[in-house]
Amino acid sequence: MAKVTVVKKACAVNPLKMSQPIGGAFAFMGLRGSMPLLHGSQGCTSFGLTLFVRHFKENVPLQTTAMSEVATVLGGYENVEQAIMNIYNKQKPEIIGICSTGVTETKGDDVEGYLKLIREKYPQLSEFPLVYVSTPDFKDAFQDGWEKTVARMIEVMVETPRNGARRDPTRVNVLPGCHLSPGDLDELRTILEDFGLEPSFLPDLAGSLDGHIPENFSPTTIGGIGVEEVATMGQAAWTIAIGAQMRRAAEAMKAKTGVPFRLFERLCGLIPNDEFIAFLSEISGRPVPLKYRRLRGQLADAMLDAHFHIGGRKLAIGAEPDLLFDVSSMLQEMGAAITVAVTTTQSPVFERLNADEVLIGDLEDLENLAKERDCDLLITHSHGRQAAERLNIPFYRAGFPMFDRLGAGHQLLIGYRGTRDLIFDISNLIIADQEQNHQPTPDTWRTQETASPVQAVTTH
């Protein structure tokens, strides 16, 4: 169990964290025909938009209520009204998802109240899906915004089934955490369908941000789960939640519809996938398809091949809680030590993390500690590239944002296949580093002698 420490600094240096409202907006991007709207000044939206575009290299819908100084002081009713009407009339979305920001929360805008007034004023909006989530920037982080927004979607959009309504035994709800990429969701969909199950993903980024050529010019999302499908999620037999952050949403689903849920905190690694596949076999009543027996064998073989390289590595990782827990646990189970772990926000998963300590901090903390503790593998998002350069150790990019490499939307970290590929990728980085930076010379045995025995083992 890891002790969670909050770093006490007045100045965050090289932030790891991103803001809560864009985490919320991100969740809205997994709905079809959706326009996420940030209630704040223009920059709140613009920064998020740029970040998403750089990560996915796709058109990203995101709008702003464009709060001016005066509107901020007087209250933003008119801006919310105008924004909704402009979007509704011009872009013809199927849903508008609204997240508050620091500036409108500081003022204390009552957006739920505004929406009520707006619906009264414009009868055409009386049934139109408008979902509001409170997400101040000065609290929590990206992952929390996602967590709150998905739970809110369920509370607002899912219908309670009538008494005695039959559940469809093949339908399952999947509530993925924000650490899963569109590529991960596609993999999950394939696995579930191979068991004859029909999954509904909420949210479904695989439909909206997986980088395909769209059906149409659309200012809103070009795919994702439809509003009507969300409404019927109460008819599913099971809810599968992935990542501890999704417990809240799964519980909301259960409270509203009675659908039982199973939470998988991790899906990277052998054991978590064994549990997942066994569970699918159980709820579908089908044997495990041959394909997964083979993939399991391949993963096991990958672990055998890679343990020489990953074993003994001292890992420095900076990520949001669920991603950190997932990837670092897998590497720890491959023999690496979680030497430095830095995260953005509190989470119950750290009780199960096999490390001494998790810091809620920034990339400066990650870099300094990695240097101090002589780490030899760094995992974090693209902002860690400067630190990796200075530390000169193998650097694997994981998490959001990943703006300096292509294919972020398709990065696969889960399932037997994803774990297998991740293990190979990381091992190859380590091997390349070994070849470039740690070739023995006639003199190296001398320096080894002076190093501690543990270091000698880990670096050679």
Binding site: A12, M18, S41, N86
Partner: protein
């Protein structure tokens, strides 16, 4: 906050601004922050603008006072390059929390400055004010003053909360911060008659380094570049320059103009995009320096360098000309780039089918007309679907634009090249021009396009999404053509003044009913052009057009 509003007033009252000069005194006071449209706006805020303008000062710690959104979502997103210090790439933020919002964030800010000074010891700390601390009343000026006194180091407040206006206003507020707190506070070790300032150049992708060797060769010293690859000290003594070149007038005109006023440093506006413009700029720099006392022989040397560089560039372009002549370019960009790039591309025989003038000034537009002829397609603002139609109808071969519109072209399997700030390549100077053509050539002749344009074997070409979108637009156009009343309604509904939401119909009615002949008269009757004033040119055009004539394609009309 009163000092901030005074600063904003001051920035709006900019005699060097072409738009501003055309306004009445009362209008000038109202300023030009266009009221942003909720649900229809995009682009950065004032804080964004201030940070963009100052961040290329490479040895300075840029500390953002606000919640995590302002820095956490945005740091490390620009490609300015540094020849030395890399501290500008480090993200610093107070990341204020709920407690700070309730009790005030000034103490945290002070401690943050202290931590930065202790750990990083930069020559100066720039502190950016954002919306939330501005709302709760954190006085960053006072904190910066106290910290500067305590730590014996310049701590510069940049008052730029996002909600005061758009990015461009933020650029100017950044300029004011330099004028108020930095410029003129130190002295250079020595001066020469060849000292110049470059203002509004950010050294994106290191492109200014393509030009600097020429200046070095001529013995012209860049005393200070504001702010590309800049150092704090250089800006602090920049008031000793003999002349200045302003590269981006939209962002930093207040600096150039006020330095002329305060220190007598003459400036001109120039560009290093394109061969002709590069030569003109070099000549102009030499001319101004000679005017301020440099020896006249500088001009001869400059002409010699120009002749040599032009010959080299033309020779390098020659092989591309055959491949690029007659190829058509759709240019979607804004401001100074709209004409400077046009000139550059025409030099290689490329044909321009349209250019966007969304952010251009009246002068920019005049230059485009000069370059492209009176019926140049100038596009104000366009939906992606219309942009695609434009690409297709005009049979453009390639689109050049900023990153945000790239997907219109790419998803339509059209070549595209980034010419905005996120671009990977440097296009400045004589070498940059050749590089730009090389990139265009690479994009145009990539064999991939032929594969991508082939429909999947199971797809009916008539029903793919592009065809559907085009059919939809044609149907809309046909419906309008068949219904003259509706067509006129649509025509009249065209927004002329975006700030005050005045459409063409209202203005035409006002002209007819009140026999108006001036922009002022129309402003009094309808409120149009009472905001940013950018639409006064459009109104002049309406006046010039005389009696109402229906226009066939509102989208493609040379709007200004």
């Amino acid at each position: 906050m009163s000092s901030l509003s005074a600063t904003i007033q001051n920035v709006f009252d900019e005699p060097g601004c072409a738009k501003n000069a055309n306004k009445s005194e009362a209008e000038r006071k109202k300023g030009c922050t266009k009221q942003l449209q909720p649900g229809g706006a995009a682009g950065g805020c004032a804080f964004d603008g201030a940070k963009i303008a100052l961040q290329p000062l490479t040895d300075v710690a840029h500390l953002v006072h606000g919640p995590i959104a302002c820095e956490g979502n945005s740091w490390d997103n620009r490609g300015a390059k540094s020849s030395g210090s890399n501290i500008w790439r480090t993200g610093f933020t107070t990341d204020i929390n709920e407690t700070d919002v309730v009790f005030g964030g000034e103490k945290r800010l002070y401690k943050a400055i202290k931590e930065i000074v202790e750990k990083y010891d930069p020559p100066a700390v720039f502190v950016y004010q954002t919306c939330v601390p501005a709302m709760i009343g954190d006085d960053i000026n006072a904190v910066c003053k106290a910290a500067a006194a305590k730590f014996g180091k310049p701590v510069i407040p940049v008052n730029s909360p996002g909600f005061v206006g758009p990015k461009n206003l933020g650029n100017k507020l950044a300029g004011e911060a330099l004028l108020d707190h930095v410029i003129g506070t130190e002295e250079p070790d020595y001066t020469t008659p060849y000292d110049i300032n470059i203002i509004g150049e950010y050294n994106l992708s290191g492109e200014f380094w393509q030009v600097k060797p020429l200046l070095d060769e001529l013995g012209i010293r860049i005393l200070s570049c504001i702010s590309g690859d800049g150092k704090y000290r250089e800006v602090a003594y920049s008031h000793r320059a003999r002349a200045a070149m302003m590269v981006c007038s939209k962002a930093m005109i207040n600096i150039a103009r006020k330095m002329e006023e305060r220190y007598g440093i003459p400036f001109f506006e120039g560009s290093f995009y394109g061969i002709q413009d590069s030569s003109d700029s070099l000549r102009e720099i030499a001319r101004l320096l000679i005017e301020r006392g440099a020896p006249a022989e500088l001009m001869e040397r400059t002409e010699a360098v120009i002749a040599r560089e032009e010959a080299k560039a033309w020779a390098a372009i020659e092989p591309y000309k055959a491949r690029l002549t007659g190829k058509k370019v759709l240019l979607i960009t804004g401001g100074v780039k709209s004409w400077s790039v046009v000139a550059a591309l025409q030099e290689a025989g490329l044909e321009m089918v349209g250019t966007s003038v969304k952010k251009s000034t009246k002068e920019d537009k005049e230059r485009i007309k000069e370059l492209m002829g009176q019926d140049a397609h100038m596009i104000d603002d366009m939906a992606p679907r219309e942009m695609y139609k434009m690409l297709k109808d005009a049979k453009a071969d390639i689109m050049l634009s900023g990153g945000k519109s790239q997907f219109v072209a790419l998803k339509a399997a059209m070549p595209w090249l980034d010419i905005n700030q996120e671009r990977q390549h440097a296009y400045m100077g004589y070498v940059g021009m050749v590089k730009l053509l090389k990139e265009i050539d690479k994009a145009l002749y990539n064999p991939m396009w032929a594969q991508l344009r082939r429909p999947a074997p199971w797809e009916n070409a008539a029903t793919n999404w592009q065809a559907k979108a085009m059919a939809q637009m044609d149907a809309e156009a046909a419906a309008l053509a068949a219904d003259p009343v509706r067509a006129d309604e649509v025509r009249r509904a065209k927004k002329i003044c975006n700030c005050r939401h005045v459409d063409l119909g209202t203005i035409e009615d006002a002209i007819r009913d009140h026999a108006l002949t001036t922009v002022e008269g129309i402003r009094d009757r309808t409120g149009a052009s009472g905001g940013c004033g950018a639409c006064s040119v459009r109104i002049e055009d309406v006046l010039a057009a005389g009696p109402v004539v229906p226009q066939p394609m509102p989208m493609l009309v040379a709007a200004e």
